[in-house]
């Protein structure tokens, strides 16, 4: 390719570590944001490093990518002085499958199938933000019922995602039985997802133009039974974890980050809110119908691992509060736009109408064309701001589809949180960020 510019900086650059004594606050922030990146397999002589803890006392070890508490394939390089973490560096990319590149080869109608697999614990959010971006470029107005269904599914998805956090967070810290309870409650929510979409995960339910199918008969009862069943279980979590001295000792004051640091490092979601920064896109930049439901934004005060746990626990209660309001307010009407160029005709029509057959065939072979343009939309996912930057060139495939995943940015706070803590705290801290590597690496 004539335009191809070879880049020589692809290999590892020189490792650089500044003397700790000669760092002003700005440089310290720089170091915390970006430290330690070592070529694999290179032995580092600790004598080369100027650190407070004597020359022979520090060692650099890898935690992960096969460590059970790194939530998948996160690798963290730790510089240790005994049990104390001096510096750390998250290394990612082990789950990178090039989904953004794949997206450029898939039609818009196939897009939801792909993006839903990114953050695989918050599938509905991925689908919703992608579909919203496509609709934004198309200029399509989604029927209100479709938007309310999206809100319903997203809020329940937030509950299921946070329930899984409760389970894994409990287990990482040693409350092993929490693992069983968290998964058990999550299964209740997933059973509703299965009733609606036919699948427990990777739903491909929210699509450009609306949702794939209307809610099944009796969905109100199913949802309300969830709203009744889960809060008592959350109270049990309070007993099991919140009031448990060991759990509190392991999380309180561990992995502290300030609001300024979190904002500077582009962290969002519960990580940001745990510091006391009250920022929730649902309330502060309302999208969909979030200005028509009442809920509180949960904020912490210390920015430690316990606050991040508490924020998530109470967010579930708020989400269920929203869900109850959605059940009351759910309007009648279409669940997707009746634009035959964007959404397929009903199955029954295909047998009767030649036109419907043609539309159906065209839609699934060629897809629909999206006018040129670019847009960025964002929703408040369980882990923070989930954005979609979409560029269309007028064809039926995205020219560029970038997903801004919250975990990807949130992981940058890890070196700040781990600094000065113990290795055992590292487990609690990684768990409290709740990274999903599928979303981080995409």
């Amino acid at each position: 390719m004539s335009d191809y510019v070879p880049t020589v900086e692809t290999s590892e650059g020189a490792q650089e570590m500044r003397p700790r004594s000669a760092t002003d606050p700005m440089e310290l922030l720089r170091e915390q944001g970006a430290v330690l990146r070592l070529p694999e397999g290179v032995n580092v002589d600790p004598a080369d490093m100027d650190v407070e803890a004597g020359e022979d006392d520090t060692m650099i070890i890898n935690m992960g990518p096969q460590h059970p508490s790194t939530h998948g394939v996160l690798r963290v390089m730790l510089e240790l002085d005994g049990e104390t973490v001096l510096r750390s560096k998250p290394v990612i990319g082990y789950l990178h499958t090039g989904m953004e590149k794949t997206q450029e080869d898939l039609m818009y109608v196939q897009g939801s199938t792909n993006v839903t697999r990114m953050d695989y614990l918050a599938n509905f959010f991925n689908e919703a933000v992608f579909s919203w971006a496509v609709e934004d470029l198309l200029g399509v107005e989604v029927p209100p019922r479709a938007t309310w269904i999206r809100m319903l599914m997203c809020e329940l998805n937030r509950v299921s995602s946070h329930l899984l956090f409760m389970a894994t967070n409990g287990m990482d810290i040693g409350a092993t039985s929490m693992m069983i309870y968290g998964w058990r409650e999550r299964e209740l929510v997933l059973s509703f997802f299965e009733a609606v979409t036919g699948l427990r995960m990777n739903y491909n339910y929210i699509r450009p133009g609306g949702v794939a199918a209307d809610l099944p008969d009796g969905w109100e009862d199913h949802v309300l039974s969830l709203c009744d069943a889960i809060p008592p279980r959350l109270d049990q979590y309070d007993t099991l974890l919140t009031e448990q001295p060991i759990f509190r000792d392991r999380t309180e004051g561990v992995g502290v980050i300030t609001a300024e640091q979190a904002m500077a490092l582009s962290a969002s979601g519960p990580v940001l809110r745990s510091t006391g920064a009250s920022w929730d896109l649902r309330r502060d930049m309302p999208y969909w119908f979030y200005d028509e439901v009442e809920f509180d934004v949960i904020v912490g005060s210390y920015g430690d691992a316990f606050d991040r746990y508490a924020v998530r626990l109470n967010e579930m209660r708020e989400s269920l509060r929203i869900v109850r309001q959605i059940v009351e307010k759910m309007p009648k009407g279409d669940y997707r736009v009746q634009d035959k160029k964007v959404t397929p005709p009903p199955r029954a029509r295909i047998d009767e109408s030649m036109e419907a057959l043609i539309h159906h065939f065209k839609l699934f072979t060629e897809g629909f064309k999206v006018p040129p343009g670019e847009t960025y939309v964002a929703v408040e996912a369980p882990r923070g701001e989930l954005g979609c930057y979409l560029v269309a060139d007028g064809s039926s495939k995205p020219y560029r589809c970038h997903i801004r995943d919250a975990s990807f940015a949130n992981l940058q706070t890890l070196p700040v949180m781990l600094r000065g803590g113990f290795v055992a705290d590292a487990v609690a801290v990684i768990s409290s960020i709740d990274p999903v590597m599928g979303g981080v690496d995409r």
Binding site: D3, E16, L29, G93
Partner: protein, 180 residues
């Protein structure tokens, strides 16, 4: 949904355009409104200063930084005075106090894809710039640790470039001696 956003921010458009002459400028960069969001097109040498001035204006959160390769979609609407280049670095800034966003699109030439790093302004762009470097080969000057982040460290090429083929996975039984 997009309309709501337009309604929300429409008064600010009028306020901004009332004080400034046409075409609308933000810190010297021409601005257009796209789907309820301000999009600024800073020149490459003014890119860092524009972002810095916006940060001083209260855009305290860098939500996203990414890049686009316009190799096969060259002609695209740009404000007068902005020449299209192959790459674009796209920055999404968010003001948590004013509850609004602004997007910057800086044109980056293919011959010398070098942009000044925003790390000094927003340390959170560290991973994002590394991703843009990894995927597009755009070099960020002043970045503390510009290495590959998603691809293996010895990888050649930049996968999200448009001249980078998606490739094929060889199907093993094709090469195997056929039974027929």
């Amino acid at each position: 949904m997009s309309d709501e956003t337009v309604v929300d921010e429409a008064p600010e458009v009028e306020a901004a355009s009332a004080t400034e002459p046409e075409p609308e400028l933000v810190h010297g960069a021409p601005v257009v409104w796209a789907r309820g969001m301000q999009v600024a097109f800073p020149a490459l040498d003014a890119y860092y200063d524009t972002v810095g001035a916006l940060k001083a204006d209260g855009f305290d959160f860098c939500a996203d930084l990414t890049a686009v390769d316009y190799l096969v979609h060259g002609p695209r609407p740009l404000p007068a005075g902005i020449d299209p280049e192959r790459f674009e670095v796209v920055v999404n800034l968010l003001s948590m106090s004013a509850h609004r966003r602004i997007r910057l699109r800086a044109q980056v030439p293919a011959a010398e894809p070098v942009v000044r790093s925003l790390f000094e302004l927003y340390p959170g762009t560290e991973a994002m710039e590394r991703e843009a470097f990894d995927m597009y080969g755009i070099r960020f000057e002043g970045h503390p640790d510009l290495t590959r982040i998603l691809m293996p460290e010895d990888w050649e090429g930049h996968p999200l470039r448009k001249d980078y083929s998606v490739g094929r996975v060889p199907v093993q039984f094709k090469a195997a001696p056929a039974a027929r």
